[in-house]
């Protein structure tokens, strides 16, 4: 199960505003892709273009190799989870989930069977929840109903638009974990929109990082992390020290990206600096330390036992292998 999704030279306009510029993207069948980016970067628009909710100004959208550019949403074999869930307030849980099945004119017995199946998938006890009204449920339970409603029609592609942005961290993490399990179990292709890089790595086989209507870089999370295309990617996708490359040697242009966990204390690294500790924060499995040096503030993640405190003058640095250079 699961169909590939491909966008070729897709552009979307809102009036005169070019919301998406020349997007090219390929999502393998069954893959989990996260569209990550700051607000206004076009990630939701891209999702809506795949869903067929927002018309494209130019370019083509393919699902399973078929050109669906001008097909209505219900003929694209997709389901979508909305940021505000979009549950139907006048219907109970059963009828919310059954909505898509009823439109397919399935016999009542079959509808019931599938609704029960979907509710069990999302870990809602059908006997307990089926006849509840939507507003009688907690936020997390509503999320589950919305997910069941999307899954019950057995979509080939599941589109999610920041579905977990308004709920508690604990519940969010649990739902993310369950979504991942369902993704593996049912095999649908998944496209997930978020502005949160922690969610992105939790759910994504691949991440497409967007900015101002364009995809800046797409790849596995580790690729974006270790080999960011530019400063924007380095900064948005994880904590980073970004310094002019000229600090590492005369005549070098561009910027050097060094991850905080690669910064070490002592005299051994390739590139050495001396500075003053201005902040030390305990973060459970490491110390987050900020060191001021050469007019820059360096972030370092150090071992919890490191004897260091604010005001210390320290030698620190990083090895050449941990430096990644970007042009801009």
């Amino acid at each position: 199960m699961g169909l590939s999704v491909e966008l070729k030279d897709v552009a979307v306009k809102y009036g005169d505003f070019l919301a998406l510029k020349n997007i090219n993207l390929h999502v393998e069948a069954g893959e989990g892709l996260v569209l990550l980016g700051p607000s206004g970067s076009g990630k939701s628009t891209l999702l809506r273009a795949v869903a067929g909710l927002t018309p494209v100004a130019s370019g083509r959208v393919y699902i399973g190799g078929n050109d669906v550019t001008y097909l209505p949403p219900d003929r694209r074999k997709i389901s979508m989870l909305f940021q505000d869930l979009a549950l139907f307030p006048h219907l109970n849980v059963f009828e919310n989930v059954a909505f898509g099945l009823r439109l397919r004119h399935l016999p009542d017995e079959e509808v019931r069977k599938r609704v029960v199946w979907a509710l069990e998938l999302v870990r809602l006890d059908p006997a307990q929840f089926m006849s509840r009204r939507v507003h009688q449920l907690s936020g997390g339970q509503q999320q589950r109903v919305a997910l069941a409603r999307a899954l019950v029609v057995e979509p080939e592609v599941l589109l999610l638009d920041e579905p977990f942005s308004h709920i508690d961290l604990d519940i969010k993490n649990r739902l993310l974990g369950e979504l991942k399990i369902l993704h593996n179990k049912l095999g649908f292709t998944l496209i997930y929109v978020t502005h949160d890089r922690f969610e992105a790595v939790e759910i994504g086989d691949k991440v497409a990082l967007m900015k101002a209507g364009e995809i800046v870089q797409v790849g596995k999370p580790v690729e974006l992390y270790k080999r960011p295309k530019n400063r924007f990617v380095a900064e948005f996708f994880g904590e980073a020290n970004i310094i002019p490359a000229s600090l590492l040697g005369a005549g070098r242009g561009g910027y050097a990206v060094v991850r905080p966990e690669d910064v070490v204390i002592g005299n051994n690294p390739t590139y050495k600096f001396r500075g003053q500790v201005i902040d030390v924060t305990f973060l459970w499995h490491y110390l987050k330390v900020e060191i001021q040096s050469n007019g820059h503030i360096f972030k370092a993640y150090l071992d919890l036992e490191t004897p260091i405190s604010v005001g210390d003058a320290v030698d620190f640095g990083f090895d050449a292998k941990d430096v990644y250079l970007v042009e801009e």
Partner: protein, 253 residues
Amino acid sequence: MTPLRIYTWVLIVALYVPIGLMVALSFNNSKLPYVWGGFTLRWYEALFGWGQAWQALLNSAVIALAVSFTATLLGIFMAYVLRQDKYIAVSQVAVVMPEVSEALAFAAVLWLVKTYAGIDLFGPVGVFLAHLAYTLPMAHVLLAPYVAYVSRSAVEAARILGASELRTMFSVVMPILMPAFVATFLIVFANSFDTYIKTAFTTSPGFVTAPILLWNYAARGRGDPTIYALATFMLIPSLVAAAIYFRAVKRYG
């Protein structure tokens, strides 16, 4: 109490005093409004024997029901279709048009139809159309904010799940809008039930509504307190409508 509070209550009392006075006069055992002749039910007895009054009430009620049903239904379609349209004002501005100009314009159209097409619509049909034209923008204005409140994503979710636009309208949008629907229905009903001007311009001598009847008697000073009894009786549908409205508001929060 603050002055503003006193002022507000004085105003509210002032609104109800004339109505209370009219109710009192309908029980007054005297034909002269400024003489209290004691309590009586004779005007109500007269009212019950006054066939013309009952016909007029029935006419008003039938027209008002038909108008409020049609205006609410069409209003909800209008509000849905025009929800993001910049020309929404074209429909809504009709609410503030002078009622008498509208009525005259409508009468002129009916005259044209009668003269050139030979179809005489003066009477129930003319009254119905005139009331509808007058209440439809009202229904639109009342419903528009509620339609905007139905989340765009709920509509889109229905579309993705395979519902046609019409099906989405009937299965998702309308049920969510039920409270607004009830409120609009009642307000349109109240307006149609008691409008005089619209009816006066578009009816025929054979089709008399309650407001027309009241006017005919009251304005020409030939009524006895039976017309107060009729007017008092007409308060009942309004009170029922208000009760339904507040119940609905309470229930749907």
